[in-house]
């Protein structure tokens, strides 16, 4: 089971950039912990904060996201992320490409499983 968890984490890394862009396109904006929860609820579990936060900052540095700290209610504040126009464009271009790639991969694996 531990092996399968590690496998899923490995698969998720390949699509995490796009998954984060897609989640932010849906919600408009969100912060790190909420994105982890949403990934989990979407059926993409086992993602660690230590993987997501550096990725969010890289997407921000690449100009695909914008980040803003906001004061929390009695807490230490939250860093909210939202898509830039460049991020929206990247999702529009890469999203369908990835979906087509995934369909092909699924078809290959399913043929092998049924064989």
């Amino acid at each position: 089971m531990a092996d399968m968890t590690a496998k899923r984490t490995q698969w998720l890394r390949g699509v995490l950039d796009l998954a984060v862009l897609a989640l932010l396109a849906e919600s408009g904006e969100d912060y790190g912990y909420a994105l982890l929860q949403r990934l989990d609820r979407a059926g993409l579990p086992d993602m660690k904060a230590g993987t997501l936060y550096p990725l969010l900052n890289r997407l921000t540095a690449d100009g695909l996201l914008r980040a803003e700290w906001r004061a929390g209610e009695g807490g230490p504040g939250r860093k909210f992320f939202s898509l830039t126009d460049e991020g929206r464009e990247a999702l529009a271009v890469q999203g369908p490409e990835w979906a087509a790639f995934a369909r092909t991969a699924v078809a290959v694996v399913e043929r092998g499983v049924k064989a």
């Binding site: 790190g32 230590g50 936060y53 550096p54 900052n57 700290w69």
Partner: protein
């Protein structure tokens, strides 16, 4: 609200600084970890990994534009700082302690300068690598210690190791003092610049 363990915070700060990540970026990372732990109550090691591991992950996602100098920049900075410090201190001390109007420049001085830099720069780079390495750090540490010992030997006994008799030319003692002081000031300026670059800023 859970407060981030002070030891984890301090260790992460040091691990990030040892990777030469800018103070602004270090502040950003520390704030993110603090905010996450405060909200979730998670153990920081479970959520982010050990400070060394997380610093390695953060560093892997950064480049020059996001607060991490290139390898060439680090090498050049270390080399220039080492050169200014060594040449500055030797000229300054030789000039101040000279009992005649000129300070002799010998092959020993020139060769020891080159050898000192050739040993001390790798010693510094290996020390940083030993401190941040997730594995194999001990080998780097031993190599760094050997290089440092060699550099110190060259700096302390240049005339015993190389030709200290032949005088290539002489520099007026006050010119030596002036050049030495300028070089030391330059190296202090570089250290000050590095300190300012590393000052941690909380983004919140």
């Amino acid at each position: 609200m859970t407060v981030l363990d002070r030891k984890y915070r301090d260790d992460l700060r040091v691990a990030l600084r040892l990777r030469d990540i800018s103070g602004a970026r270090v502040g950003e990372v520390l704030a993110e970890v603090e905010a996450h732990v405060a909200e979730t109550g998670e153990d920081p090691v479970a959520a982010f990994g050990s400070p060394k591991e997380y610093a390695a992950k953060v560093s892997a996602q950064l480049d020059v534009k996001t607060g991490k100098p290139s390898r060439l920049q680090k090498l050049t900075g270390t080399l220039i700082t080492g050169l200014l410090t060594y040449v500055g201190l030797t000229l300054l001390l030789d000039g101040l302690s000279a009992d005649r109007p000129g300070v002799p420049v010998t092959p020993a001085y020139l060769i020891s300068t080159v050898v000192f830099l050739a040993l001390s720069v790798p010693a510094v780079m290996l020390s940083f690598r030993a401190a941040v390495a997730l594995s194999g750090g001990r080998v780097c540490g031993v190599l760094a210690a050997c290089a440092l010992a060699g550099a110190m030997a060259v700096a302390i006994f240049p005339n015993s190791l190389f030709d200290g008799e032949t005088v290539l030319f002489e520099v007026s003692r006050w010119v030596a003092v002036g050049l030495g002081a300028a070089a030391v000031a330059g190296s202090l300026g570089l250290v000050r610049h590095g300190y300012r670059h590393g000052r941690i800023v909380d983004p919140r």
